[in-house]
Assembly symmetry: C2
Homo-oligomer: 419 residues x 2
């Protein structure tokens, strides 16, 4: 069997599994997730051994630092992975939820029922924990999952997936509910992306290059996660202490994330008072500032920002600052340069708060809070499959509900279509 | 400017319009729709003149019958089109709806707000009323729309769109809220489908060929409408009179539609009593029957069904009938041959009703009602942009809500991300 045939066969088996998994009871799914979590913990030594093969291969290629760190499975990381699976087991089952039923004039009752999407393909890089995290969310939401991890973590991913597959089967999940693509041949990605008759949704998890490859080659709907050029606008009416606290958190708490602050917009009215204090705090936290000409004049130790800075996702301890003339100006800057990911206003003016909330286009819009809170756990989804920047199906953090769709349900007493 | 540049420019202008339209008040949108409806009525003569050019071109090509009929704009059809626009104006505005807000442990309030998708491209064939119907739904839901109709209706579509465009502008809608692609060059479709940076969603409306072309060539998410291989299962416990009424309606009320019945499944227990009466009624209504071997033995004037019949969407007064051994057997047949469009059970057994409702995979699942009711108006959506057979974003009849997405909204008092 060649690669194309092999991948098609695996997807066909996954589709069969999906039909059964959609009707699987909550208890069966939860027990399987708990058993998987236990098995990951018990087989820590095996997982660490397999992970060592990946680490030495990566080291031989001369890689080190953050990549190596992200790739490493320690027993702490393995128990975190297991804990994540147990948390998903504890979440309410989204499948079968009925979203209201209303009675039509002809007497029939009409509602919608949440059902699984079917087969979900996850194409990911680096961190082996994605294998367990995403499989747990797919199983809980009644979807069969096909996992295609990066070659740098192939031994780790294969080891994790083999545990999930075998424990799943023992726990009564339909066979092939979890499918792992074992080959590191990159062609496998393209074969998967062509199978629109078998796979219902593709979720890429990784860097810009991977996401672009997936979006450009997929015949299957893709929920994608783009970069975040994230703004916070400090309005003239802002509580300055609150604004300082939020800006520092948004920029420095974890600067390499998509919801970290990249460009700060400050109302001209309060800039002379607010910015000198803030810049001192930022500089103490190791943040380099690149300011617009007005900011450059106002502050010391600041570089002059270029047009390029407004378009840049630094993912680093660098902050662009622009002084603006009021909310209109701030929202225009966000509309022009933002990536519609996470946007915040700090204000005590109610009409400004409401305008920002209603008019700013982003996956999450914040009043008086840090953009770092754009996260499935923080927003109460209980778990997260990345943050969608798509404008259809799901936008913002994707929890279990984002892995379902709705079917219409109709209960009648003999109603027919007239005229 | 060549075609590629021209289409890109039009889409760029539509995207600019979308930014403004998203913030347009309900009153402005409603007034524009009402003014458009009035203008269509007042310019009936112009529309009928332009339509005559399409009709004569089509007649010259030797076409006649249903295609010609569907293409014809009469003053009755024009007032129906205008009435449709007024009905959309009367619907509640979906934009800005807040879907519940809950308080997180840290005190911030989190909810979701319905917002427009952005720019929607409609690629359609034949009936010129689609121009007005789809534009109305897009405008009401705050989306800019790019219309690309078929060459056979080019004069009619251009005339309708020119009225919508000019009246829209006069009524205060942002310029380019409605864009019509004037060329009949088929390449324009491919140029549109490539503009994933400018167009957010593509909705094809037309035959299988058009939909396939769009799905296979689009870099933009597509909400598609596939064929309906629709079943009704008459359970042993069914009220036979109700079952007859529903089956006759589902098959004969408008057989050329996707939600019309194609294969009837009857429980073996009641087949000998039920089928002879039903087949007489069906035959009186002009329906040809193709039966499984058991049906063939039981009934007169029936052809023997082949494997192909179970896979066929007749869209005609032909019905395939299969006698099955209970609900399990019926659901297995539906899972194997159905197209997940519209599926019904006629039963008085509660556990059978609930199993069918929960387990059958379709855009709409009916208990004791005709599948012909799978329709936006009948299910209470107030209007309809086709029936989606996609499994993401929207499934079943698409109303105004299907043309929106949700953004997360967060109201805080200084909350930041910890740990």
């Amino acid at each position: 069997m060649n690669l194309k045939e092999k991948i098609r066969q695996q997807a066909t088996e996954a589709k069969q599994a999906a039909g059964h998994l959609a009707r699987c009871g909550t208890q069966v799914k939860n027990n399987a997730l708990l058993a998987m979590a236990d098995a990951l913990g018990k087989q820590s030594d095996f997982l660490i051994e397999e992970n060592a093969k990946d680490l030495s291969a990566v080291r031989e290629k001369g890689l080190s630092g953050p990549l190596l760190e992200r790739l490493t499975l320690s027993s702490k990381r393995i128990s975190e992975m297991a804990k994540g699976m147990r948390e998903v087991a504890a979440l309410p089952d989204p499948v079968g939820e009925i979203l209201g039923m209303t009675r039509r004039p002809n007497g029939m009752q009409v509602g919608q029922m949440r059902v699984p999407i079917g087969v979900i393909g996850i194409i990911y890089e680096s961190r082996p924990n994605v294998t367990a995290d995403t499989a747990a969310l797919c199983i809980k939401s009644g979807n069969a999952v096909i996992l295609r991890g990066g070659s740098e973590a192939i031994f780790s991913n294969k080891a994790i997936a083999s545990i999930l597959e075998s424990v799943g089967k023992e726990s009564g999940l339909p066979p092939h509910s979890v499918t792992f693509i074992e080959t590191t041949d990159r062609q496998a990605i393209f074969e998967l992306l062509a199978l629109s008759d078998l796979i219902d949704l593709i979720i890429p998890r990784g860097g810009e290059g991977l996401i672009r490859t997936v979006v450009e080659n997929s015949r299957i709907p893709v929920m994608k996660h783009d970069k975040g050029i994230t703004h916070t606008f400090v309005d003239a009416s802002a509580d300055m202490e609150m604004a300082q606290k939020i800006v520092l958190n948004a920029k420095t708490q974890r600067p390499a994330t998509c919801n970290a602050l990249e460009t700060l917009l400050v109302d001209r009215e309060i800039a002379p008072v607010f910015l000198p204090i803030l810049s001192k705090q930022l500089q103490e936290a190791g943040v380099q500032i690149r300011g617009c000409p007005d900011t450059f004049k106002l502050l010391e130790h600041v570089a002059l920002a270029t047009e390029e800075d407004w378009k840049t996702e630094y993912l680093d301890l660098i902050l662009a600052i622009k002084i603006v003339d009021g909310i209109e100006n701030a929202m225009a800057h966000i509309a022009k340069y933002g990536s519609a990911h996470s946007e915040a206003i700090i204000t005590n003016d109610h009409s400004h708060a409401m305008r920002f909330l209603n008019e700013v286009d982003a996956s999450a819009v914040f009043i008086n809070a840090s953009t770092r809170l754009n996260d499935g756990y923080e927003l109460g989804l209980g778990a997260e499959m990345g943050i969608s920047t798509s404008r259809i199906h799901a936008r913002g953090p994707m929890g279990l509900e984002a892995l379902t769709c709705n079917k219409f349900i109709i209960m009648g007493e003999g109603q027919v279509r007239e005229g």
